[in-house]
Symmetry: C2
Subunit: 559 residues, 2 copies
């Protein structure tokens, strides 16, 4: 092989750390704690990350060691984002909405050496977490005041308060040279059922994902942005936005746990946020709040862009934000893709009608991501915008396997397939791809409704129902049917939820759906809720809905 003669600069998060140091020391992170706003310059954040690395080093955290966090979005969590991977250790972000036994199970599976936990979380569930023996240190982070007695731990475990722990160390740290393929982060897709599925990000994958967030056709993070990731930092690195913001030189605004409309509005106004991101549920409540509090519109005038993902969104969602001068961009991804795979960028070669029709699609693959859809036999389906197939992804920031625990080996999984000379991640999502490349997720493979031998897309039904202005949330669920095997049921939460509203909905939803669906796909029944049940990730919990409707349990591990 004739090798090129170019510099072998490894793609590691040190590129992010160094760039912030060189160019953006005066940019800031604003964290909204319950007690008030906390602002810190990146210069000081980096210095604290250095202190933290020295503390970790002293605590015995070496190359490849796992460091767990159980924390909301704060500047301290961001310090861990920088210090842990850049010192060559692995940041394991645990979902703070899990129950204590699940947390303990993940700590054991990841073989974590140390746990950083927000006091507000430790206070409520800390004593219930049975720490595995490998965890020798618990560092409590002071999102609320902590007293020395709060740090009492079980035998063999040292308790620390974060500020005091790092305060004794020097800001200068001798950051090691890293291999770009070294592990940088670990994130489990679910911790409640079955075998934990951990995605072990490398420096290379996270760095390339970070660069991909800067593309003009896409997230387009810029220095002039102030970025508010309201998606938790334990969900696939808050969709990669904190690293992207640091790389671009954008300031950050972090909401801790509070993503209710009033808290977000206060943070947006204070930090002059230009872009924010969270799952649609958060923004549906936000829109409701703006409707009842029209005066709030002025307070969010700085907000211009809303990359949204995690669930399908409807036309009215996009239109409602457009009225506030806020552009919604539909994104799609999963923990296994770091997480971004698709962004809905408007192509210039579509006419106005086509553009309107593609707005609620999940989008186009990001440069660096390649996709295909395949049928049940793994054969490529036609990308004609009509034929559904399983969406599969090939990308340098997509997983090749799941983490096997302890020894760092991968474990067997049918989520990956080798074909066409590469590894494909099987997303489990059923999608169509139109000739312009726009992907529409028509369903989770396991959420398809099979009626009389034909498939009905629950998401297509949901999208259509959600485009009604009187609907706040909607889901379509399969109910066992003696004649048709399954029939769809619509579950709805209305904006205005009086008896009369429900009656009106019930009277006309069928004719509304009949514009877009054949008769046999239209649900006979509707069930009303004040609010749909949500899972730990804030998405509608279809398993719970199914249970409520049918009394039965649905399939495991819903997404």
């Amino acid at each position: 092989m004739l090798a090129g003669l170019m510099q072998q600069v490894p793609l590691t998060l040190n590129l992010v750390r160094e760039r912030v140091l060189d160019l953006y020391p005066n940019k800031t992170v604003t964290t909204r704690f319950r007690g008030g706003m906390h602002v810190i310059a990146y210069r000081d954040l980096l210095a604290r990350a250095g202190r933290l690395a020295n503390f970790l080093s002293e605590a015995g955290v070496g190359r490849g060691a796992r460091v767990a966090t159980l924390a909301w979005n704060s500047h301290r969590h961001l310090e861990l984002y920088l210090a842990v991977p850049c010192m060559g250790a692995v940041l394991h972000t645990i979902n703070a909405r899990l129950l204590a036994p699940d947390v303990a199970r993940l700590l054991a599976h990841a073989d974590d050496q140390i746990l950083f936990v927000d006091w507000s979380i430790w206070r409520t569930m800390g004593r219930e977490i049975e720490l595995p023996p490998a965890v020798r240190h618990v560092v409590v982070m002071e999102d609320e005041p902590v007293t020395p007695s709060d740090l009492a731990m079980a035998a063999g475990v040292a308790g620390h308060a974060y500020e005091q722990a790092i305060g004794g160390y020097d800001a200068a740290f001798s950051w090691p040279d890293l291999d770009e393929n070294e592990a940088a982060g670990l994130c489990y897709t679910s911790g409640t059922t079955g075998d934990p599925k951990g995605v072990l990000y490398s420096h290379r994958s996270t760095t390339l994902h970070t660069l991909a967030c800067l593309f003009a056709d896409g997230i387009a993070m810029r220095e002039r942005d102030v970025c508010l990731p309201a998606v938790p930092m334990f969900h696939a690195n808050a969709w990669g936005f904190p690293y992207a913001a640091l790389m671009a030189g954008a300031s950050l605004a972090l909401p801790c746990r509070e993503t209710d409309p009033a808290s977000l509005i206060e943070l947006i106004e204070t930090a002059q946020v230009t872009m924010a991101t969270a799952v649609p549920t958060v923004w549906i409540a936000f829109l409701d709040h703006l409707r009842s509090n029209p005066d709030s519109a002025d307070r969010i005038a700085s907000l211009k862009r809303l990359p949204v993902g995690g669930a399908a969104i409807g036309k009215s969602f996009i239109d409602d934000f457009a009225r506030h001068g806020i552009e919604v961009m539909h994104c799609w991804g999963m923990t296994e893709i770091s997480p971004l795979g698709l962004t809905n960028v408007a192509r210039s070669d579509l006419d106005a009608q086509q553009t309107a029709a593609t707005r609620s699609a999940q989008g186009l693959p990001i440069p660096g991501c390649r996709l295909r859809i395949v049928d049940a036999d793994g054969i490529r389906c036609e990308m004609d915008g009509r034929t559904p197939g399983e969406l599969q992804i090939s990308s340098p920031w997509a997983a090749a396997s799941y983490y096997g625990g302890l020894d760092g080996a991968s474990k067997p999984s049918d989520s990956f397939v080798a074909d066409e000379g590469r590894i494909w991640l099987k997303t489990g999502d059923i999608a169509t791809v139109d000739p312009h490349g726009y992907v529409r997720i028509v369903d989770r493979a396991k959420d398809l409704i099979k009626s009389g031998g034909e498939w009905i897309s629950s998401q297509s039904l949901e999208l259509q129902i959600m485009s009604r202005t009187d609907v706040r949330e909607a889901a379509a669920i399969a109910r066992p049917d003696p004649k048709w095997q399954e029939r769809p049921v619509i579950c709805v939460a209305l904006r205005s939820d009086t008896e009369q509203d429900r009656k009106r909905f019930e009277q006309n939803y069928r004719s509304y759906l009949s514009r877009s669906f054949p008769k046999w796909q239209i649900p006979e029944d509707v069930v009303f809720y004040a609010e749909l049940p949500k899972g730990k990730t804030g998405k509608v919990d279809k398993v719970a809905l199914r249970r409520m409707i049918t009394g039965e349990n649905g399939p495991d591990d819903p997404k």
Copy 2:
């Protein structure tokens, strides 16, 4: 080492090729040949690249083999850009402005196996090129009509016409899996003096550079762009713009050799070009043309952005284009950096006055590039906006060494230094860096003027003189001086160049300069030219100027 478990997708130009195939088959390349406009869809371009790869394979071109081009900007050259690297061979783009002996020397140094050459070039100088024995095929590309007798070659060399050569082959080619560190391209920085300095790009370096051209803060290539690279495709891959356009899904417009204003305007109007790039000389003539042909303004209404590099530009240059609704973005780079290292992006944390003051700076390092300035002892200089030092670059798309020829080894060079745990490319440019990170190239190391033991920046003088509205081109040159060793002389081409204009300039340029320079830096003399002499890259040829002014020869290898 605990390795991440992510997909090992190599960063190769196959990502570009595949993306065009998947998403942008209907986008187009418009080439302006002298005989008229030629439009081809990317779908057909890719098919022709497949035929070309089959032809090359048949001709014995294997992995790592060098394929030379001597050609202007056309769709055929773009087909070579795709086919040659993606089949695992190395694209060696030779400067078409070199003389025949220099071309022969580079063919020999690179050990090229085959030469692709525009007929217009071969017609005029082909017979003078003494082909090295390794070159067994010459493929003439039909930018003008070619007759069979035109293909007669020396003994042992097969002559081909491009269209006929590829026409006999299938469009399907079995593109191999490549290692991202394999060589993809070879470009010599100068072929006229001293040892040829070849930069051997890898797939990884060119792919990362391509992605960097998509960053929103920077070149920001988008699908909706139509990109006109008027910089030759033999200059560092036309600054990487063709690959970036393909990756982004932007259409391309290629001008062949003709970059005169009338030809460019015709191409901009026909292809509805949105962004174009070339050295300032091209755009100075363009502005002159617009001044004398105000009706042309309407014809370039689609043009919005002008990334410009290769020489310093003045405020009036930027202002003149702004009046046409065209945003000039100053860029800086060199062949050794693929070539982009800096882009002048306006930071949001500057006030209006600071912004105005930074507009003519070369810019900020692109994410992925790191820089430092060092003194003569290699010690880092203060980045205070005042202290000049040699600019050095670390980046995955910067060279680590020069190509040693034949065996593919690197050759010793003092252009690279290992320090701080990495390789730095010594650019030979003297720069200041201000606290916000903006780099100002104050001089080529060899263009500094030493007067009375003090350095005078020729580029600072040039910039100031060029900011006068009556100046078209300007250069400051060192003239030997018995008292001060050297004194600066101003060389000027005026826009309106009458005897009266010259007199007025002579009378007031000193007072004009005295606003910005101390008295001892102000040149005593000015020399007027109708046009300044240019080198083969279109830049002002300071060696020639020095010779004209002093009768002596200057240093070798000017940039």
